[in-house]
Point group: C2
Chain length 192, copies 2
């Protein structure tokens, strides 16, 4: 863990996802690590914080989540656009060196046996809330967020700092065909 | 419906949500219309297209969705930031003229008995897929997208046009405390 990675209070954890970024999902089971991209991840509750993520049956990450009961969700940066696209379009099924070939470097956080992706702006450690019907019928997984961290260069004191941070820290919002939008300008609604 | 509102093929419907915008949820039941904001909405499947949205038990829109079994999800624009904030922070419970006081104008689309919000960039007509357990335990609602439309000034031929459209058309990504980020610059990952 680098010196810029700081814990985020769990009551603020959903703020890391509230702007709707594309995320990286990672998991570890039986000696295997994998990382995939997911545009379909979303906050679900504040207390305790929860999120949803869609994991297709074709993915290699899904059985790691089902096997271990835990997973990490992380928010990649504009600087990681190619990495994000590549982990979403290559499979461990076809490329045993997928992570290395995609430029993924992993790191650990004490107390969580999960492969966290270096260079992201935020990380969420999640415990799977087993919901067989949702998982089988909709590929929909629910996780309770049990740990949250952010790089203080991008998120600090409960707030994203995109207005002042280097644009390389902005989040990614995937559309299709290799195209993303970066998070843009800050707009503030005056209370009436 | 204005002349700029064009149907979007259902197989492209999830593209209207893929970048993770904050949305407006609207519903009609027993002569009552309401509109609320939701940052927690997400695509769920391509075929048939589906989405999830979190509707708190405190909202007045939720019983309209439960009562009618249908709802609309629409993508508000940067120009609608104040409207989006206001419909998310006022309730019909307290203000019978909420919609007028928030500046909401509604319009109809043939074949769908739903109150669509004028001025948005995209609209999705949804049929509730009843999942009592998800609704009761998680406030999580699943809808099948049965109709999709976009304003051609913002989305055309299956693609958002934020790069060339007026910035007032950009989507909103809510954070907290009245702060949003607009959708930002386009980034394209070269295929390797």
């Amino acid at each position: 863990m680098t010196s810029n990675v700081a814990p985020v209070p769990l009551e603020k954890a959903t703020r890391l996802l509230n702007h709707g970024p594309t995320v990286l999902v990672s998991a570890r089971h039986a000696g295997e690590d994998n990382v995939m991209a997911a545009a379909w991840a979303c906050a679900l509750d504040y207390t305790p914080p929860k999120l949803t993520v869609v994991l297709d049956k074709m993915t290699r990450t899904r059985p790691l989540v089902e096997g271990s009961g835990i997973f990490a969700i992380q928010v990649p940066t504009a600087a990681q656009m190619q990495l994000t696209f590549d982990v979403g379009h290559r499979s461990l099924h076809d490329d045993a060196d997928k992570l290395a070939n995609c430029g993924v470097k992993l790191f650990g956080i004490d107390g969580h046996d999960l492969p966290f992706v270096s260079g992201c702006s935020a990380w969420l450690a999640c415990k799977l809330i087993p919901e067989k019907h949702n998982q089988q019928i909709y590929d929909l997984f629910i996780g309770e967020i049990v740990g949250a961290w952010a790089d203080t260069r991008a998120f600090e004191n409960g707030h994203w700092k995109f207005e002042t941070a280097d644009p390389a820290w902005r989040s990614l919002h995937y559309v299709a065909g290799g195209q993303f939008y970066a998070t843009g300008e800050s707009l503030v609604a005056p209370s009436k």
